[in-house]
Subunit: 318 residues, 2 copies
Amino acid sequence: MILNKIGNIIKQNKSFAVVSHIIPDGDAIGSTLGLYNFLSEIGKDVDVFNPDKLPSKFNFLPGFFDVKDTLVKRHYDCIFVLDCSDKDRLGHLVELLNMADVVINIDHHISNDLFADINYVDTNAGAVGEIIYNLIRINGFEISYNTAMCLYTSIVTDTGGFKYSNTTSMTLNIAGDLINTGIDFPEINRILFDTLTAQQVKLLSRVTSTLELYNNNSIAMLHVTKDMLEECGANENDASEMVNYARDIDTVEVGVFIKEVEKGKFRVSLRSKNKIDVRIIAEKFNGGGHIRAAGCTVYGDFDEVKNKVLNEIINHWK
Amino acid sequence: MILNKIGNIIKQNKSFAVVSHIIPDGDAIGSTLGLYNFLSEIGKDVDVFNPDKLPSKFNFLPGFFDVKDTLVKRHYDCIFVLDCSDKDRLGHLVELLNMADVVINIDHHISNDLFADINYVDTNAGAVGEIIYNLIRINGFEISYNTAMCLYTSIVTDTGGFKYSNTTSMTLNIAGDLINTGIDFPEINRILFDTLTAQQVKLLSRVTSTLELYNNNSIAMLHVTKDMLEECGANENDASEMVNYARDIDTVEVGVFIKEVEKGKFRVSLRSKNKIDVRIIAEKFNGGGHIRAAGCTVYGDFDEVKNKVLNEIINHWK
């Protein structure tokens, strides 16, 4: 089986690189650092890379400060590419693929184009961290405390705290084994899910004060302007999840969040619960996404944009 | 072993009552409804009780509308009391204990005073739902879809979505087995953790607008007045978790939430992260609680109350 073949490559070789995708998320960071810690602990010569700067939120993870974003020309016996559906996801680090004897691609995206010498794509895995766990265990190795911190982070972020439908009994069993190493998972969860800046709290107050309900309270709208961001000392990313406060209202089917990008240009995020396909609405404005989460850019002054989007949702409802 | 003994009592008897504690939480409701569904499905004559009206949030659970809050005099072969450390927790339903041949007490609180004929207290269980799962499985029965919905709810609420330190590998393994019944756990999580009313969103906006930071940004204060509640059409319970927005700020060690109870009387909630024992501060005002979560009632006008609490925290810090 492929994980045993990969295990043999690990056992028989000395120098490794581990890399994941641009704009790295918790799974990209947790799975690469998990594999990096494991390989280091069993005495391998390992470099770990990411094309982008990692979000500082993850700086509690062992190995965080070892991650490099630039290449020095050298040779590796083997390179692991994690959580990347294709090589373009490596950004400027794509050159790494020419620096090793063997390239191993480990992923869980169905869209993976199998670009490497050895490809292991398990679409049932909630996170690549689950696959790294299996790779280590199946080949007879132990999971250390440090590796467990990283793999737990990978899994808990990509499954939304075990809430998303990609969570399986395997996910939960693996998480159980990882917490048995003694990691402080309540603190990890606090850092990952329950940490705000004072600016974010101020922005939350301003954004939630804009709440408007339409269509018999089934559509909720929130918005943020550039002035509001500035007043709160916040940046655009601080508003990124606030559409949830619209969608989460009990009577609401569609939550809308309108963000001013520049004068006359607005980014619109759409979320739905059970019925409305918001992708179709986003596509009317040349946007896209999924059934329950989509987005588009709409031009005009704020009231115009709001009414255009609102009318499109109500028309689609009929 | 006791769970087998209890299993034999189930197998050999016909009529059962299941009850849990006043002001029921997710574990009380989920574990009683889990056991109720299981006993009904295997053909027993079962009544399910709670001394209080259940929060409507849980009305998606099978059996929710069967829960009674009043007694009709009759006889049961056996009564199960779940998640109750003592019989006072049964409120006006304590009389049930005299209506059966056998009273079985199943709990996970270390403070349980073993009031019943058969007592099974497992302080390692994250939720009583875990114990009910084991009771069913150990005695050779299957877990149905309906029972799984209830037990999953019990476990996921009492472990804070598997984030609290009472989560064990056993908790996660059981949750994995429960989701294998095909329950819609993403929807259950949405209902339990990601549902707000429009009034709560409005109140959140008002409360977070009161943010004040002290002691080099290590103390955050939020407050709510009766007027604010009224303006938002909200009630006291709508503000119950908002202290978290103070504690969760990255620079903060102590989060404080001050709620006006009546003119000149304020309820103060205190939360800390790693260092400060907030119980000691609460005790200065004749309150109490735990190291990381405590509360007290303080008298005076708002500014007085705020300054008294603030001074106490800063004094304790030194």
